[in-house]
Amino acid sequence: MEGDEALAGRAAAGEVAAFTELVRRHERRVRAFLARLTRGDGADDLAQETFLKAWRVAASFRGEGSYEGWLLRIAWRLFLSSRRGRREEAAEIPERADPAAGDADRRIDVGRALARLPARERAAALLCLGEGYSHSEAARILELPLGTLKSVVARARTALADELKGQG
């Protein structure tokens, strides 16, 4: 199977088929990331814009970090642009789950806690705690100094852990 870097090179040369294969490979994570960031509001539109932007600037991917990381950086920038000038509205927070109810409800509680976090902490938590990105790659995606990123991740972890511990 052809690697992302080779496909990205072909996409940069204008091969639509290569780009479509990259979309197939990475749309799941990009859309999930944006869905959690935007709390569902316009996530798919932003995902579509992300991939279109990636197509237009395909030649600018130089293999520093993963292709998916590069896509997520584009997605993060588009998310920030979409928020500019708009106050972030309070998320609809579901009822607190029954502590005895099980995994699905713990997912709701973590989702609830995630929705309460500022966007930067939400993004850092999703990348590092959820998807397993290293601090250095997450710092590159979110365009933060490494030290700042580590502090942001630590704050997010504490907030989410408190929510889980609160469930016993």
């Binding site: 639509v16 479509t20 799941r28 579509q48 705690l129 989410l160 852990a161």
Partner: protein, 110 residues
């Protein structure tokens, strides 16, 4: 100290769920990318045509300007000298015709 089991649980809860690629989404992107490439090519062709027609129009104006400035030669007895402003103007006129009526195209299509 980091609670490892809590980190594992957070990872499981925050990770995006596995699923097959969304083919409809991929196809939609493919259509948009193809449409954008076509639009870009059409825009490039339109700019090229516009530039050539502006050059042709400028040549035509220059030809008319040169023609209007040329005074009749004193002893020409009605003939136009081969070398002079009028000839230059006619040359530019010929250039405009050549640019506007490229092989395979008719003036009516412009």
């Amino acid at each position: 100290m980091v609670d490892e089991s809590l980190d594992l649980e957070l990872a499981a809860l925050l990770r995006s769920p596995e699923r097959a690629p969304d083919e409809a989404f991929a196809r939609r992107l493919e259509r948009l990318v193809v449409a954008e490439a076509r639009l870009r090519a059409a825009r490039r062709a339109a700019w090229h045509r516009f530039t050539m027609e502006m050059v042709a129009a400028a040549a035509l104006l220059l030809a008319f300007a040169l023609l209007t400035r040329s005074a009749p030669p004193p002893d020409s007895a009605g003939t136009i000298p081969l070398f002079g402003p009028a000839a230059a103007g006619l040359l530019l006129l010929a250039l405009w015709i050549a640019v506007s009526l490229r092989p395979g195209e008719s003036a009516a299509t412009h």
